[in-house]
């Protein structure tokens, strides 16, 4: 597997790269790089409404990505966006504005990524909507009692499937069925879950699901919003421009009836072709056994870190992701990350775009090591060894 990822050959400051920043973005296998290369080298053209061969190939390539996503996630509609963030903003604008009104409530959680908070704060301000934040408890889970209570009169529930800080997997089945029973729509932020598990969108029962290609072996600049047919019909256009219209005159315009309605302008063509190659590549992965393997690494690492005196923020239950957030009692996180980088270890520090969660945990940031398919137990062991050396020398 590792030899399929050319970047893993990279030396950092003379040392082997140990890339543990996968929750921020993952590396790309050669097949993904090659697919985009091939597109630019052989088939580059603008898509839709064109007759010539290259345009046909580009159109087929672009739409094939949508088809793959539809099949893989069992979704009626797949809108291609520039990422999770745009997907969530699209829900706020295209669905929220048309279906919410002053006084309506939207339920969020304290575990959300900023991308699933700020769009709602902006909408709330504009439309006078009430936002309700479900608290995170000491055990790092959502307070389901408060969640249930907060559903009263709620029109929409926005919840992160797997926390990018804690790796905690939320009980989405329960969240969705409770929400549905109260008539609230559900938006699932799957940025951290789609890379790690097969999700049957239709069976799950959510109304929207957002995720990014770059966190699942695909290119930057592309993501998707899955939508059910019913809710799709409730959405009004968001951005205007080419490709999303049926007719335009100076008296007004009519719009496409399919996903193109929400894909204004020249789309992310090379990106879609790259992502499609990544999706194909991922189909060879045994998600279940990989999940188990990575989770075991995460559990082992957490234990080691704790025994070194670190505080670990995570519980690593069976469905949680292999994300290990921790803090040293005295050493500054960024100093630590700099020192780790000197030996080739890439970890992330800071608030991980989840300040409300950190505020609840009464910290301002963590050091985060996050694992993906190409990471090994040996890397985790090397990480622990390096960390001990650094602490001995610097702490």
């Amino acid at each position: 597997m590792r030899e399929q990822f050319p970047i893993l050959q990279r030396k950092i400051n003379g040392h082997d790269l140990v890339y543990l920043d996968n929750a921020a973005t993952t590396q790309k296998p050669q097949v993904v790089i090659d697919a985009m290369n091939d597109y630019y080298t052989n088939s580059n053209a603008n898509v839709h409404r064109a007759v010539h061969t290259l345009a046909g190939e580009a159109t087929d390539g672009y739409e094939a990505c949508r088809e793959s996503l539809k099949k893989m996630y069992n979704s009626d509609k797949v809108i291609i966006t520039s990422g999770t963030t745009e997907a969530i903003n699209l829900v706020a604008h295209a669905w929220g504005k048309a279906n919410l009104s002053a006084g309506d409530a939207v339920v969020l959680t304290e575990m959300e990524h900023h991308s699933d908070i700020v769009p709602w704060q902006m909408l709330a301000k504009e439309m006078n909507i009430e936002l309700r934040y479900v608290p995170v408890q000491q055990d790092l889970t959502l307070d389901m009692e408060i969640f249930e209570a907060s559903l009263d009169g709620a029109k929409l529930v926005c919840v992160v499937h797997i926390s990018n800080v804690l790796g905690v997997c939320n009980p989405v089945d329960e969240i969705i069925s409770l929400s549905k029973s109260k008539g609230a729509k559900v938006l699932l932020d799957a940025a951290q879950s789609a890379p790690h598990q097969y999700i049957d969108f239709k069976s799950l029962g959510a109304d929207f699901m957002a995720f990014s290609a770059h966190k699942m072996c695909g290119p930057t600049g592309i993501g998707a919003l899955l939508v059910t047919n019913d809710v799709f019909d409730e959405m009004q256009p968001f951005m205007g421009g080419g490709d999303m219209i049926e007719t335009v005159s100076i008296h007004g315009s009519t719009f496409q009836s399919n996903e193109h309605k929400f894909e204004a302008g020249t789309p992310k063509i090379a990106e879609a072709i790259g992502w499609n190659a990544a999706l194909k590549w991922m189909q060879e992965i045994d998600f279940k056994s990989e999940h188990k393997r990575l989770l075991e690494i995460a559990r082992w690492l957490s234990e080691q870190l704790r025994s070194m005196g670190m505080t670990v923020y995570g519980r690593h239950d069976d469905n949680d992701a292999a994300v290990v957030s921790f803090l040293h009692p005295t050493m500054n996180s960024e100093d630590l990350a700099h020192l780790l980088d000197a030996r080739g270890f890439a970890v992330r520090t800071g608030h991980h775009c989840a300040q409300p969660l950190l505020e609840r945990l009464k910290i301002s940031g963590t050091v985060r090591a996050s694992f993906y398919f190409y990471n090994t137990r040996e890397e985790a062991e090397a990480f622990v060894k390096q960390l001990s050396e650094i602490l001995e020398r610097f702490a």
């Binding site: 839709h48 409404r49 064109a50 007759v51 010539h52 345009a55 046909g56 159109t59 087929d60 739409e63």
Partner: protein, 135 residues
């Protein structure tokens, strides 16, 4: 109107490699169409999702399918000609067993842009739906 059968057509197409020649064959097949005059074009005859204007009317008389069609593109009219041949001498029941795959098999669809070949599929679907309704 020739007495070409669908089998003849498929064979003929498969013999030709040059795309221009294939397109020429499609052009010529526009002659096969029972032409629907422009004055009969309206919203109910329109094939949706076609880039050009394409219109079809289907009626059934004594177990025979009467297919009339017209388009502002000769290529589209050629596709209509292919469908005309496919529907010739078969019963409505037999027609409903057709799939648009025969056109892919002929290699005619991949000589066309994705939007044109989508257009063909849309036309095919509309015609089948009308046959079903009028049976």
């Amino acid at each position: 109107m020739s007495d070409l059968t669908l089998e003849d057509l498929i064979e003929e197409f498969q013999e030709v490699d040059d795309k221009m020649e294939r397109l020429e064959m499609v052009f010529e097949l526009s002659e096969e169409v029972n032409f629907l005059d422009v004055e009969h074009w309206n919203d109910s005859t329109r094939v949706r999702g076609c880039q050009s204007e394409a219109h079809v009317i289907v009626t059934i008389e004594q177990e025979k399918i009467i297919f009339k069609a017209g388009a502002d593109s000769k290529l589209v009219q050629g596709l209509m000609g292919i469908l005309t041949i496919a529907l010739r001498d078969i019963t409505p029941t037999q027609a409903l067993e057709l799939t648009p795959e025969f056109a892919s098999d002929m290699g005619v669809l991949n000589s066309l842009s994705p939007s044109r070949s989508n257009g063909f599929r849309n036309m095919f679907d509309k015609v089948m739906m009308e046959i079903e309704q009028k049976m």
